[in-house]
Symmetry: C2
Subunit: 421 residues, 2 copies
């Protein structure tokens, strides 16, 4: 089986100023093509460290993907390392990339500086895959079988995440031409509402009886819940195995499963609304607009999402959402009565079929006698309003995420339970 | 100088299902303590790969931080590797962690299962740092100087990000007891509104004259703008150098600099509002609640943030914000007139001192004749309303982020320009 390694370059990663998201994106894309990533490594902008890391990767893997170290203001250390390991004898300015640089900068109304054009200069023993989304091209170093006792190809991608992502289809096309790829399959079952250890208990018997070719991983996440990932290597009928095992999981977990296709909670909830021709609005206190932000992160969400009122101040709850002052005075803002009034209020003023409301205390400290982590969710339809309480015990950021996801999940369950708008 | 490496364990990372954020957090914490991270490496849940990666780290670095591979449903492969490399002869159940497991699970109303208690079992040659936030303890393996020709300590942290973060202060306390730490300093100057290459052009002369002990890095990010990070190693008067260089940058970049202390754009904008006793509201179309979500991510934001209306549907713009139908019919929703009417509308109904409005097209495709990436921002105070246009050319997610950050930055500049509420 062909393995790959991913080498990320940049002091900014090593000092923790930015989080490397490229490696995850690249490994997802390689995985889909049946290439197993054996290792990811991050090193700083030091020539020696880069050369050592790349040599280590080439030693173990036929495919090495390098990202970063190519920006207009970088020292081009990566380029220098590629120059050396390919035995290049000079730099060549790539005409296709030069054109792209002119096009991109002029569309932004910027002058084309020499520093920009130099990005199209490439070691003469490297191939080039033009980068349509940015100024630094992808460089490809191909090594003779004699170098590492087998085929080895190195791809150097720009570090800017959306440029690296845009380059991957072309990199994979190149890989497919040069390598005979084997099969690897993943299926992820996404659940919400059960803690990891309770889930593990629920499905322990099923897990024990899994065929030996299936590997299972538990992946907890505040916005996604606990995902169960099944992986199958080198088996021809992976789809059939997934179908069988997914059916068994469904009978064990029921509506706790919200997706088997990779759809996110906002996508699933949006699809349920859309397929019924229903609309939704949100009234958010402690979630501060995150539910609206999640719903609108989905392209096409304007078909079902009408809008939101983020009612952080009590005056906004009263004046815009029409929450009676007496509700807040008697029960407090963090109460089922307030959640219900907020949900009903936003549904009325937006004329939506459903609405979701949140009011709680995300932290950092207890407030109005309400502990950190407590939230009330209101779900209102044209026929009825329900409220439910959730408790978490995390930091502010994490609580806000869990509150928002719990509210979306509550809406999903209400719709699945057969409630009509 | 003492170096460290960070080894992250988990198939879920290697297949790209989750992004490793622990490494960035850990390296930030180590950096603050003057420890340089030489390398980060991620490997799967295979015992051999973990053992090989850890051995490689210990070979190069005195401090090795391992995360992951410890969850209740993991195969405890990390624990097995620690057992082997420390030459342990059995497992010991840690009483402090056992207590914590009971406390955490009962506070969530969950039964304490045997699978949970087994997490407190630790190889007998490892020290334990209790994990107050989760069920898996931190394990510490100390190696005699003879093993690697110098002091070497390995810390194994749980993979759950907030648990790993919560453990770091105790890990650093332990490191400080055992190592004599040298000095490393970073100062980050955060700018918004100038592209990376234009910024590099503006400060080229300054950059050339930087003292040789200062390293500079450009860090572009859609939500943060371009940050300039200066790093100084092993110099006693780092603060003085930073002050001098920051003053020079300020004279070159003026208000394009929004922070020199690590404060984010929402924090800086919030502080400006708070110190003047002003309040703010937002009216968001294309940003879908993200500006409100960013503002409320800051603890204490209720002092100045009143609320938001996310007006995705035209009906919400008209009925709640009071945008005249004629404005939308004549100029379209993506227009300066609509942005101004939205900003004035939300300021009126929330009675805030300032308001921010966004209306644009984030993508994926052109809509109502408006190209992807176009946004109009409205900033309204009690005295006047201004509108401004921004153009980006990225994907939907990135455009939404840039729109929201541009709007926050526009508010910041309006306040700095001396506009009174």
């Amino acid at each position: 089986m062909i393995t790959a390694s991913i080498c990320t370059i940049g002091d900014e990663i090593l000092i923790g100023q930015i989080t490397d998201t490229n490696s995850a994106m690249i490994s997802r894309e390689l995985g889909k093509a049946g290439i197993r990533v054996r290792e990811m490594i991050s090193v700083g902008d030091e020539r020696d460290e880069i050369a050592r890391a790349i040599a280590g990767c080439l030693e173990h893997d036929g495919i090495v993907i390098v990202t970063g170290g190519l920006g207009p203001t970088k020292d081009d250390v990566t380029k220098g390392v590629l120059y050396d390991i390919t035995g290049s004898t000079g730099y060549v300015r790539d005409s296709r990339q030069t054109e792209i640089i002119h096009r991109i900068l002029s569309s932004r109304g910027l002058d084309v500086l020499d520093i920009n054009l130099r990005q199209a200069d490439v070691p003469d023993r490297c191939d080039v895959i033009p980068n349509r989304l940015g100024t630094a091209p992808v460089m490809v170093a191909r090594f003779p079988d004699t170098a590492f006792g087998r085929k080895a190809v190195l791809y150097s991608l720009p570090g800017v995440p959306f440029e690296a992502e845009g380059a991957m289809p072309y990199v994979l096309e190149d890989i497919r031409k040069g390598f005979c790829l084997s099969e690897i399959h993943h299926r992820t079952i996404m659940t919400y509402g059960i803690a990891e250890s309770a889930l593990s208990d629920l499905i322990a018997e099923w897990e024990e009886r899994l065929p030996s070719c299936v590997r299972l991983a538990y992946l907890p996440d505040p916005l996604k819940g606990v995902s169960l990932r099944m992986s199958v290597y080198g088996v021809p009928d992976a789809e059939k195995i997934f179908e069988e095992q997914t059916a068994k999981l469904r009978s064990l977990l029921g509506d706790n499963i919200y997706s088997c296709s990779g759809e996110s909670l906002p996508e699933v909830t949006g699809r349920l609304l859309r397929s019924n021709g229903w609309t939704v609005s949100t009234a958010e206190s402690c979630t501060g607009g995150l539910i609206a932000s999640l719903l609108t992160s989905v392209p096409g969400s304007s078909a079902y999402f009408l809008g939101s009122v983020v009612s952080y101040a009590s005056s906004v709850k009263e004046n815009i959402l029409g929450v009676p002052k007496s509700v807040i005075n008697t029960h407090g803002a963090v109460s089922p009565e307030c959640a219900a009034a907020m949900a009903e209020g936003v549904r009325r003023i937006t004329d939506s079929d459903f609405s979701v409301a949140t009011t709680g205390n995300a932290g950092p400290s207890a407030s109005e006698g309400k502990p950190v982590g407590q939230v009330w969710v209101g779900i209102s339809s044209r026929k009825e309003t329900r409220t439910m309480e959730f408790h978490y015990h995390n930091d502010r950021k994490r609580n806000i995420e869990r509150f928002a996801a719990s509210a979306l999940d509550a809406l999903r369950r209400v719709i699945l339970s057969g409630t009509e708008a």
